[in-house]
Symmetry: C2
Subunit: 120 residues, 2 copies
């Protein structure tokens, strides 16, 4: 689960509006266009970003595309990120070096940083 990509996709006003509308109901691009009163390329490009983050799905219907919200992913990313924060550091891939450096800090705070009185 790529938190950075998903939160980045969520962190933009136009995309939040699109997500909210798709939460209401699945829509064609042209419907989003009229409802949001925004240009078609603008909508399409934001939909592309949301799709890459797996936040929406699309289905071809002739010449149209119906976009729908992937609510499960939103639920999952929230619960998994909460779990990620609660997980012990030493068991997290991607934090090996950080965990090592924290251990070194715990053992010998003077050497690494905060030269004066290493205890808070």
């Amino acid at each position: 689960m790529n938190y950075e990509m998903i939160f980045k996709a969520l962190g933009e006003y136009t995309r939040i509006k699109i997500i909210k509308l798709l939460a209401y109901k699945a829509m064609y691009v042209c419907e989003l266009e009229s409802v949001l009163n925004m240009s078609q390329p603008r909508i399409s490009q934001h939909l592309k970003i949301l799709k890459h983050a797996n936040l929406v799905r699309d289905e071809k219907e002739g010449q149209r595309s119906v976009y729908s919200l992937n609510k499960e992913l939103i639920h999952d990313v929230f619960s998994q990120f909460t779990g990620f924060l609660d997980m012990p550091l030493e068991s997290l891939s991607g934090f090996e070096q950080e965990y090592e450096r924290i251990q070194r800090l715990n053992n010998d705070p003077e050497v690494i940083c905060c030269k004066n009185s290493g205890d808070k």
Copy 2:
């Protein structure tokens, strides 16, 4: 609750690392600096963004600052955003025009968009 600001703050790799470390324990800037092995201004600037989003708090301790994670906000933003998605459109401030345009679409699909056969 400013979803855009909060999700944007969450959507960056360095900040995710900082958040994870602060979830482990509150830390000084200089500790984050050594643990993440990143420059001090880089850390400080990301902390500033996180603080503006209310994701972290800081407390002065002499010349140092202890930063700690605001876990409640993370929990709140997740649950409130889920609620936001489930909320009926008509009761949402900021979606008045969109709601109106959707109603118009429902009444007369031909006029607004998707010229050919307005039903999916």
